[in-house]
């Protein structure tokens, strides 16, 4: 299983709106012991180094020594002080977001922050975050000019953002690694992976989803430093929040216990970025072989093979080339469709099939009415794909105004059950059955044998295996390629 790099990032600042409006009823960073210090203690209890994005510009109201004390506390307890820019505190015009400033201005703002932190703790920050996610591409250029290698401003779909880069994926733009806030979709809304916004169950489900996606290898658990010490309904008021502290503890325990999760401070995410770039390069190397032509292609493919081979007999045409053939013990025959399985049995073959792996025979080719009796069994349900739809539809639909909206009409309030149901029937269940099979069997070679018209099974296997390093893949089409018995 591929590793998932996990960073815990904290915005170290007071609740900004109450502070700006001068109605904050206490210290919004320390929160009478329930703010920054409590958070650091919890992180340390789980052995986690936090990436602490500090708003040094609050020095304008709190005083420089106070912010230095915040930074030295972070550093002395083994966490990493990074830079959070809130230019409103130093701009006479009161501009709030970085994208409202020119490239030169942004460079100056970031450089000022970098120097402040370096002088306070003797270490330059490695990462920058634009407060309120109000960044644009100039922000990344400014980071590069200020000597920073990482920016963590992106939040998918956020209205303040003036750039959209990776949407939950690490990307490299203008030479800077962009580390977005990780968001999951619930009912059409993007929720940050923040203990104040999601439940432990949400985190578990999302982590499982993330592990399946070849282009995603990173999760950002983020929160403000005051989350455990202010009233969630009125952040101007200090109030301990033990329930949220418990939830945070549970989430951190989950992440630490998961062997696939690598808890990594943001400053050290270069290997994660490199791994993604390698995967993309691997896709180029692992292109599926074009359909074989000529006789006896199947025999040629299997000749001399010692390693495990998964031979998927996708359609009825696929049974002709294998009729009468003998296969070595390293070859696993698999028939995903029930009618093909039954015909294979009548031919004396004894293939494996989805029920052997506690799954249903594939039904993507069957009419909707014919699959009613399959509900709520072996991982299939028409309702099951609602949340998955929310996740996979983010880029193309849910964060795409031209698709999601028509004037004042929002076409995706609370997701889309009907689309999710249809997609589950047509392809999503098929993807799960076939990809889980490959993951479980770990063959060296996967051969998909079907007819001249191809098959859904071929499409799924070809594209899935092309997206991630793994077995070789060969597509054979009976009637074009394969010839008879050896």
């Amino acid at each position: 299983m591929k590793p998932v790099y996990v960073s815990v990032s904290v915005d170290v600042e007071s609740p900004q709106t109450p502070l700006l409006e001068k109605r904050l009823q206490g210290d919004g960073i320390w929160c009478d012991g329930n703010g920054l210090e409590l958070l650091l203690t919890i992180l340390e209890r789980h052995g986690i180094t936090g990436s602490m994005f500090t708003n040094i510009y609050e020095a304008a109201v709190r005083g420089r020594p106070e912010i230095e004390r915040v930074l030295t506390t972070i550093q002395s307890r083994g966490h990493q002080a990074e830079l959070l820019t809130r230019p409103v505190w130093i701009d006479r015009a009161g501009r709030k977001y970085m994208h409202q400033f020119s490239l030169d201005e942004q460079t100056a703002i970031i450089s000022q922050g970098v120097q402040f932190i370096a002088r306070s703790v003797g270490r330059k920050p490695a990462a920058h975050r634009a407060g309120g996610h109000g960044f644009n591409l100039d922000t990344l250029r400014a980071c590069a000019q200020a000597g920073l290698g990482i920016d963590s401003s992106e939040c998918p779909g956020h209205p303040n953002a003036q750039a959209a880069l990776g949407r939950n994926r690490l990307t490299r733009t203008e030479g800077i690694i962009e580390v977005p806030a990780t968001c999951l979709m619930r009912g059409g809304r993007a929720l940050k992976i923040d203990p104040g916004m999601i439940s432990l169950k949400d985190l578990q489900e999302f982590l499982a989803f993330l592990k399946d996606q070849p282009d995603h290898n990173f999760l950002n658990l983020s929160m403000p430093c005051y989350c455990l010490g202010v009233d969630p309904d009125d952040p101007a008021r200090l109030r301990p929040n033990p329930a949220l502290a418990d939830r945070l503890e549970s989430m951190l325990a989950l992440l630490v216990a998961d062997r696939d999760c690598l808890l990594t401070p943001m400053a050290e995410l270069e290997p994660a970025m490199h791994a993604l770039e390698e995967t993309a390069a691997g896709r180029q190397r692992n292109r599926p072989v074009a359909p074989e032509t000529g006789n006896n292609a199947l025999q040629r493919a299997l000749a001399g093979r010692q390693g495990k081979v998964l031979l998927v007999l996708a359609t009825e045409e696929a049974l002709e080339p294998v009729r009468g053939q003998e296969f070595g013990p390293n070859v696993i025959l698999f028939t995903p469709r029930e009618e093909v399985y039954r015909q294979a049995l009548s031919q004396g073959l004894n293939p494996a099939s989805p029920p052997d792996f506690d799954r249903l025979f594939l039904f993507h080719h069957l009419p909707f009415d014919d699959i009613q009796h399959l509900r709520e069994s072996k991982g299939y349900s028409p309702t099951r794909y609602q949340y998955l739809f929310d996740e996979i539809a983010q880029d193309a639909i849910l964060h795409n105004p031209a698709v999601r909206y028509c004037g004042e009409y929002d076409l995706y309030v609370n997701g889309d059950y009907n689309a999710a149901n249809l997609m589950g029937h047509i392809i999503l269940y098929t993807i799960e059955v076939l990809t889980d099979l490959v993951a479980q069997l770990k063959p060296e070679l996967v051969i998909c044998l079907d007819g001249p018209k191809g098959s859904m099974e071929f499409f799924v296997l070809e594209t899935h295996l092309a997206s991630c390093p793994g077995p070789e893949f060969l597509h054979l089409q009976a009637g074009r390629d394969t010839g008879g018995a050896a």
Partner: protein, 401 residues
């Protein structure tokens, strides 16, 4: 006067809404209107006709100018959709590396245009009919979700009448609801039906208004069905024709019948087209039977019967508790027993291997616990007083005050 707009789509929703609509017609505080998303509808039309409901549809609401205006809106949306989606790679929507966008982009466009149509139509209805409340019996998807969503955007309250049971014993991912308030069948439904807590806070127990129209006694129900007044009647629900009729034939051929049995086979709409085939299977058995399709309500059938027989715990299985039919739950196809849907059901029904054991029914019926049965009915249906529609209107009135 409070204006209630009932929105129905199919038989399943119509049968829940019509009783409340009829009650509202008689109520001095309400002015009800009934809209259906799909006329003609071969299942819903007979129901509307039976109860004299004058339903509106889109043709009654939209003028030709409004249709033309909508066409412009739709075409503009289609253009911007195609432009935007066309610029995206196939992999912009993918799962486990499998790109999906090309396969579904046309579906998304068609379905989104349908959603637009619903929301636009609702805007015109809201403007012309000025409803104070929208009453639905399904809001998770299809057209009704978009009427409810649009109602919510326009500040019109939505009230949802429960349409199917849920059980915590059979864990499943729930469909998401979209309405503001919910009227539920009974206490056993609150937690399973409304899995999101904010919906539970807006739930009311009313019972099932569907039954309000079936207060006839057993004798009258039998007269309506044309079945013997004195026979022991077994109602059998058929929806998975191949599996269930095969078992019926095989098991009844082995059963030791006493001769006073009469079987009513009630066919789900899915199986309606095969009633002749069913007759051909049953005739050689020499049993007395009647096949019922859409000509009679399943509740008339339950009212007429001593026993309701089922191979599965479907909705009619639970509904028969309201009508005092003793439930016979037959084992699954693999011979195993069912996990009962609710922890209050044991002792209130007969569980048997199959119809071949019908001779054991009288003795087993003696062993049923009437107190447990009464409790089960309360948990499922709240009250059996045929006043659920009135209670729904009380809720509507309170919410609109």
């Amino acid at each position: 006067m409070k204006r209630l707009l009932f929105i129905s789509e199919s038989y399943s929703t119509g049968v829940r809404l019509i009783p409340v609509y009829l009650e509202a017609l008689r109520h001095p505080d309400f002015e009800p209107m009934f809209f259906t998303t799909s006329l003609p509808n071969s299942e819903l039309d007979p129901l509307l006709e039976q109860h004299g409901v004058q339903a509106l549809d889109h043709k009654a609401v939209l003028t030709s100018k409004e249709v033309a205006d909508f066409t412009k809106i739709r075409k503009q949306y289609e253009r911007s959709f195609r432009q935007s989606i066309g610029a995206l790679p196939n992999s912009a929507m993918s799962y486990r590396g499998v790109p999906l966008l090309d396969t579904f982009r046309q579906y998304f466009l068609n379905w989104n245009c349908k959603k637009l149509e619903c929301m636009y139509l609702f805007d015109q209805m809201a403007r012309k009919l000025r409803p104070d409340m929208v009453v639905v019996a399904y809001c998770c998807g299809s057209a009704k979700k978009f009427y409810v969503n649009r109602a919510s955007q326009l500040g019109i309250t939505s009230l949802h009448l429960q349409y199917a049971y849920r059980s915590l014993e059979i864990p499943m991912v729930q469909k998401r609801f979209n309405s503001d308030y919910y009227c539920l069948w009974g206490p056993s439904q609150v937690e399973p039906y409304l899995f999101e807590e904010h919906h539970r806070k807006n739930a009311f127990l009313t019972g099932n208004p569907t039954f309000d129209l079936y207060s006839m006694d057993k004798a009258e129900a039998r007269r309506m069905l044309g079945v013997p007044a004195e026979a022991r009647i077994f109602a059998i629900g058929i929806h998975l024709f191949d599996v269930q009729m095969k078992r019926v034939k095989e098991e009844l051929s082995r059963a030791r019948l006493s001769g006073d049995e009469f079987f009513i086979f009630k066919f789900h709409p899915i199986a309606l087209g095969r009633m002749e085939e069913a007759a051909a299977m049953l005739d050689p058995l020499g049993i007395s039977y009647k096949l019922v399709g859409l000509d009679h309500s399943p509740y008339t059938v339950c009212r007429a019967s001593e026993y309701y027989v089922t191979y599965d715990q479907e909705t009619l299985f639970l509904e028969s508790y309201f009508f005092d039919a003793v439930n016979l739950l037959l084992n699954k196809d693999d011979g195993s027993r069912h996990t009962l849907l609710y922890d209050f059901l044991p002792g209130t029904l007969l569980e048997m291997e199959g119809l071949h054991q019908l001779d054991q029914v009288p003795a087993l019926t003696e062993e049923l616990d009437p107190d447990k049965r009464r409790y089960a009915v309360e948990q499922l249906w709240y009250k059996t007083d045929y006043l659920a529609s009135k209670r729904v209107l009380e809720v509507a009135g309170r919410l609109l005050d």
